[in-house]
């Protein structure tokens, strides 16, 4: 064995173990975070009933009798996320189909980087734009006590979820086998029929995965939402989208600064954090399952 060969082998091994350390490190960090999160949250249920937490309709820390009910925050997050998905899915899927199927190469060349650029706008900037542009107009349009509503948050989140939805859907649509498309044309179908009878059904699981991933993006967002939803910790009434809501993330961000370590309120925030963690974990698992099915089909 020559010397250079030995050096190369050594280098190879060194790099391999370096990567291994990196990989293990990531898993370790994840494990430690989970451990800490669950340990701190479990402190909350020593003094507060789990049922009362899960079905409580009031979130009132710092009151004389402190109440920690999850529901107002859960509905806040649900309203804003659902609104964002309702707004983002049609626009997202239409753009994805356009980029993958209809756009001229030149148009696609401009559109694709633009979508990526949209993903690069910091959330605080979007939040600020929402605060200055959307809030006053939504108030005026619907004659509300304030323009800081679930709808305002949903619009901002829709903008943030769009890049995810567009790029993942576009990937799914582009990877539909050309044979399917050609077969459809050969049977005399026009382009439009091919798109909605063949291509979209074939890419369906990829498109669903994109929607679920977009949803995950929306649920976890904090800053932009906190700036435009009003952070009112009450269960929204019938006009869900036009009332001010407080999301789970905003609650943690708003209250973590002040809370004294070791108090019930402190542990309550961790319990809320665990709920958020479980929600996003669930969404990621669903997205993964849908994507895997998609790969098997393809």
């Amino acid at each position: 064995m020559t010397k250079s060969r030995k050096v190369r082998d050594f280098k190879e091994k060194l790099m391999k173990s370096l990567f291994l350390i990196g990989g293990i490190g990531t898993i370790l960090i994840l494990l430690l975070i989970c451990l800490f999160l669950f340990a701190e949250a479990s402190g909350f249920f020593k003094t507060y009933s789990l049922i009362e937490f899960l079905i409580g309709t009031e979130w009132k820390p710092g009151a004389r009798v402190e109440v920690f009910g999850l529901l107002p925050l859960f509905f806040g997050t649900a309203a804003v996320t659902a609104g964002a998905i309702i707004l983002a899915v049609p626009i997202g899927i239409l753009s994805a189909v356009y980029i993958a199927e209809l756009a001229s190469p030149k148009a696609a060349e401009i559109l694709k980087p633009s979508v990526e650029l949209l993903a690069g706008i910091p959330s605080v900037v979007l939040g600020f734009l929402g605060m200055v542009l959307l809030v006053p107009n939504i108030q005026r349009l619907f004659d509300l006590p304030t323009g800081q509503t679930a709808l305002t948050g949903a619009i901002i989140l829709a903008i943030m979820a769009l890049p995810t939805i567009i790029s993942v859907s576009e990937d799914a649509i582009s990877s539909v086998p050309i044979a399917l498309k050609n077969g459809s044309f050969a049977l005399g179908a026009d382009h439009w029929q091919t798109i909605y009878k063949v291509i979209i059904p074939a890419a369906f699981s990829g498109i669903s995965a994109s929607v679920i991933l977009g949803m995950g993006r929306a649920i976890g967002e904090t800053m932009a939402v906190m700036m435009v939803t009003g952070n009112m910790a009450i269960i929204p009434g019938t006009d869900v989208f036009l009332s001010s809501v407080r999301t789970i993330t905003a609650t943690i961000a708003l209250e973590m600064g002040e809370v004294a370590r070791g108090t019930e309120h402190y542990y309550a925030l961790f319990a809320v954090g665990v709920v958020l963690f479980i929600m996003t974990l669930f969404i990621n698992l669903v997205a993964d399952a849908v994507k895997r099915r998609h790969k098997l089909e393809a």
């Binding site: 990196g22 200055v132 304030t146 952070n231 600064g257 002040e258």
Partner: protein, 286 residues
């Protein structure tokens, strides 16, 4: 084939993470400069801009001292002082007895320094014709007993109540000085920063909000507090002589055994030069 694509992107991810980790470790080593004396201060976002200005001025004449100023809220600053992770805690409320006791248990003997006085200004939209409110009316507005501007001499429209988050010293002080034992209404808007409060009030005709007096800007209108029939505005004079009812001290808390650099810095703040900066920033000097 599919499998291969998966592992490749996994390797990419792991490589990226390792690079990041190494970069972080490297940055940690570079950040230290042993010749400088470091003073770390953190806490109230109300005190923050004043403290930054004071720190910059102090560092101009003390090249060997490095003062870092962070926000986080009064509670965070005090918690960090108790932990020993800062040298100076900035606070817009007085330290609580249990916090002093916690600090003592951790070997920190807390010393208080009042560096300035600040008032809380009640702000409304410039188009609102209400000019003054009593402390009692303010309490009723924030507790939800008064819900229409008509009840306090304004137009017939609902009141949109805007409060700060519970980490804010402004909010905490307002609770103490105005609310007492009365709880806030559930349906009030909570904003995470002073700027967000003024922004919403400036564009919402029905809104009422509270901010530190030093922040007052022309896009919103300050409401005078009605004290036994006299309108009292949150001017520096009224805040200093205690006529304005919603005013407070801005505090720094340190360990009794603080570093020389920290002690020099606080001496500078309380000196005429430091107090001039306090005045220029819109607070009342001590």
């Amino acid at each position: 084939m599919k499998m291969n694509i998966g592992t490749k992107s996994q390797i990419k991810l792991i490589a990226l993470l390792s690079v990041l980790l190494i970069a972080l470790a490297g940055a940690g080593c570079l950040g230290q400069n042993s010749s400088d004396q470091k003073v770390v201060s953190s806490g109230s976002t109300t005190v923050l801009p004043l403290m930054q200005d004071l720190a910059e001025n102090f560092m101009d004449t003390h090249r060997d001292v490095l003062i870092s100023v962070k926000g986080g809220g009064s509670g965070v600053g005090i918690a960090e002082l108790i932990d020993g992770s800062n040298d100076i805690a900035m606070s817009s409320r007085k330290i609580r007895n249990n916090e002093v006791a916690d600090a003592k248990a951790n070997g920190v003997t807390v010393v208080e320094h009042i560096i300035a006085y600040d008032g809380i200004t009640v702000i409304i939209n410039p188009s609102n014709n209400v000019s003054n409110l009593t402390v009692e009316q303010l309490q009723k507005i924030y507790s939800g007993e008064i819900r229409n501007w008509q009840e306090v001499g304004g137009a017939d429209s609902t009141i949109t109540v805007i409060a700060r988050d519970s980490a804010s010293g402004t909010q905490e002080f307002f609770t103490e000085a105005v609310m007492g034992n009365v709880s806030y209404r559930n349906d009030m808007i909570v904003q995470a920063a002073t700027g967000a409060v003024t922004q919403e009030v400036s564009q919402n005709e029905r809104a009422i909000g509270i901010i530190g007096a030093a922040y007052q800007i022309s896009t919103v209108k300050a409401v005078a507090v009605n004290v036994d029939g006299t309108e009292v505005m949150p001017t520096e004079e009224n805040i200093l002589n205690g006529v304005y009812p919603i005013s407070r001290g801005l505090y720094l808390y340190t360990d009794e055994a603080m570093s020389k650099a920290a002690a020099d810095f606080i001496a500078f703040i309380l000196s005429p030069a430091g107090q001039k900066i306090v005045k220029d920033m819109g607070y009342a000097p001590v």
